[in-house]
């Protein structure tokens, strides 16, 4: 039989049994959706996390687990329970092997977005992806105490423009009862999108963050670090020189770059064994590996569940064709009388089985694209992870070929029975 005719017969046959076929197609679509979806999100999350920080040799913070320090500092997941002292940070800066350092101070928020207190090196030294530096789509980095630079998602979602004023809130919840109303910040720059948690934060100077935590009575007499001399009471923080600007007593953590990669373990050991303050120094790559090891169990469970769903739906496919064999006995007998070989009967049932699987794959993929398209802005806003479908990878194709191969295998059972009965 000509292949076009066979495809037409197979298609008409499926339409004739559309009730059970539709249910089977949906079952396969759900399994394909789950299988590809979990793997895609896993890969996207991994890629997103891996590309969040680049070129940072060590992350230093209060003594805690490596993963906890990484999540808090880089991904801003969870809350810091302790800080490291400003003196320790200064000690890091002055270390002979430290080329640069970026202080990170967390604790405040703005309409659900984290506020990061940092300093100028953040905009010049911090890298993401393949050693890409931060750039601005609008404006510049902060230079004054009450300047704020916005991550791209913050600017986009809250529709801020340059020179807009905004108020920071104490704490990390979206609705805060403690707002720093007395200290409005002015938007001076918007960072280009990075597809990392950088996009979901506001960046202010450490001095600004320190200033807003002073009582309103100190508005024109900003507080100082106890180690610093008193300021001119008639100056606002913006009018003070950088030396005069308030410095914090502590920060959450610091990212540091070393003069030589060879010194990494030496510096790490020195920091970890320092006696004046218990600190942790972690290698971001190693901490990420630990994170993946911790999540591997969950990943495997999800993968196993997705594969079981696929297995069940493929069994359903086989069961459907087996159930229809009885009602098709006249149809198959007629075909044999017309000259259809047993192999033709086998092929026809196999084509039908593969067609159902293919329809399930198309439906599953279509809905996966739809769901990912809808969920991606949320994932980017919430976690700074871009789960968008950039391209079809070989992994997708291999997974789908497994589905088709599975459909061919289970379809072979009723096809073989049809073959044997028609001999």
């Amino acid at each position: 039989m000509h292949i076009n005719r066979m495809l037409k017969v197979a298609w008409q046959s499926l339409l004739y049994r559309r009730g059970s076929v539709v249910l089977t197609v949906i079952a396969i679509a759900v399994s394909v959706f789950t299988l590809l979806g979990t793997e895609h999100v896993r890969q996207a999350a991994k890629q997103g996390f891996n590309s969040t920080v680049s070129g940072v040799d060590l992350i230093v913070g209060p003594r805690t687990s490596d993963v906890n320090l990484l999540l808090t500092t880089v991904f801003r997941i969870g809350n810091p329970s302790q800080n490291m002292s400003w003196d320790s940070y200064q000690g890091l800066i002055n270390h002979k092997n430290v080329a640069w350092a970026i202080p990170i101070s967390l604790g405040d928020s703005h309409q659900g977005f984290r506020v990061v207190g940092t300093e100028a090196p953040f905009f010049t030294q911090f890298q993401y992806g393949q050693s890409r530096k931060l750039t601005f789509t609008k404006g510049r980095a902060f230079s004054d105490v009450y300047d704020v630079a916005l991550g791209s998602q913050v600017a986009k979602q809250l529709r801020y423009e340059l020179s807009d004023k905004l108020i920071l809130a104490h704490g990390l919840s979206a609705t805060s009862f403690h707002k720093h109303d007395a200290y409005p910040f002015r938007v001076v720059g918007v960072l280009a999108a990075t597809g990392t948690p950088v996009d979901n934060a506001l960046y202010v100077s450490l001095a600004g963050l320190e200033a807003i935590h002073q009582p309103p009575s100190n508005l024109h007499q900003p507080p100082n670090n106890p180690h610093q001399p008193p300021n001119n009471p008639h100056q606002t923080p913006n009018e003070q020189s950088s030396e005069q600007q308030p410095k914090p007593a502590s920060i959450t953590a610091a990212m540091i770059g070393l003069t030589s990669k060879l010194a990494t373990f030496k510096v790490q050991r020195e920091i970890s064994t320092a006696t004046q303050e218990p600190l942790s120094a972690i290698l971001p790559g190693v901490a990420l590996t630990q994170l993946w090891q911790m999540s591997r169990g969950l990943e495997n469970t999800l993968q196993l569940m997705a594969r079981l769903i696929l297995f069940a739906s493929l069994l359903g496919l086989g069961a459907m064709f087996l159930a229809t064999l009885r009602e098709r006995r006249y149809e198959l007998a007629v075909m044999r009388t017309l000259g259809a070989s047993s192999l033709t009967i086998f092929s026809l049932i196999e084509i039908e089985s593969l067609s159902v699987a293919l329809l399930g794959i198309l439906l599953g993929c279509r809905h996966l694209v739809l769901v990912i398209t809808i969920a991606n802005p949320w994932a980017v806003a919430e976690y700074g992870i871009d789960i968008g479908l950039a391209r079809v990878t070989s992994h997708h194709l291999i997974t789908l070929s497994y589905v088709l191969f599975g459909a061919m295998l289970v379809g072979a059972v009723p096809a073989l029975m049809g073959f044997l009965r028609s001999r």
Binding site: M1, H2, R5, K8, V9, Q12, S13, L15, Y16, Y330, E331, A333, V334, M335, R336, T337, L338, G339, A340, S341, S342, L343, T344, R423
Partner: protein, 250 residues
């Protein structure tokens, strides 16, 4: 296609036959695996090319099994040649091909693939015979036109048509490959009188125009025997009384 060695020999042996043999059975027997007794047992039977045979017999006598043997769906013991070809000598694939190209079959019911249109049912038969080409569709439409079926029904799914319409389409499908042998297995038993007459009329018209087409028409309705050249009971075949190919001519 291997010719039976004794095909011409059989022809030479018979003084009564002026034309080659369409069917030649010698000691043909078939027994189902779940039975000890043969359902078909024919010592000798010959049908010449172009002969129209009415074969009668009660239910369970093996009429359908005989037709299955004739079209190569089953292989019995003994010798059976159809159109000079010994079916048992062919591979399964060649037998299927031979059936598709040379034999047209119409059953009592369930003749059509229910989910295909009338036209597609006919084109499927042509496709299986390897004859799907530009002219096939025109021929199929012409055959459908002969059935008296309105053109608007040609694209309608077969299972939505009446039994009478389905049987007429089954004839059209059996004829699409211009078969040399037509087998009918109780094709009118599910039809009312009007549809039965229409069916027989259509068959007669075709037979008139195709003198070389051999027809074996199995039915228990002896009133239809008058449409055919000869009539024979299956019991006579089994007893060997049809061995000289001189059936009861009308």
């Amino acid at each position: 296609m291997p010719q039976t060695q004794d095909f011409n020999h059989e022809l030479a042996d018979s003084h009564l036959i002026k034309r080659p043999l369409a069917i030649c059975a010698n000691a043909l027997s078939f027994t189902y695996s779940n039975s000890l007794d043969p359902i078909v047992q024919i010592p000798k039977w010959q049908v010449v090319v172009g002969e129209r045979v009415f074969l009668q017999g009660a239910s369970g006598m093996g009429k359908s099994t005989l037709l299955q043997l004739l079209c190569g769906l089953r292989i019995g013991s003994g010798k059976l040649s159809v159109e000079g070809v010994e079916l048992a000598q062919l591979s399964a694939a060649k037998r299927d091909r031979f059936r598709a190209q040379n034999i047209g079959v119409v059953f009592q019911q369930f003749n059509l693939i229910p989910y295909l249109s009338s036209l597609d049912n006919i084109l499927l038969a042509a496709s299986l015979a390897g004859r799907a080409n530009a002219q096939t569709k025109a021929l199929a439409q012409s055959l459908l036109s002969d059935t008296g079926l309105a053109p608007k029904l040609w694209q309608q799914r077969a299972d939505t048509l009446s039994i009478g319409q389905q049987q007429r389409i089954a004839i059209a499908r059996a004829l699409i490959n211009s078969p040399s042998l037509l087998l009918f297995d109780e094709p009118t038993s599910a039809l009312d009188e009007v549809n039965r007459n229409l069916f027989m009329q259509m068959l007669s018209t075709y037979i008139e125009g195709h003198k070389n087409t051999t027809v074996i028409f199995v039915s228990h309705d002896t009133r239809l025997a008058s449409y055919f050249d000869s009539s024979i009971a299956l019991s006579e075949l089994s007893s060997g009384r049809a061995g000289e190919a001189d059936n009861h001519a009308h």
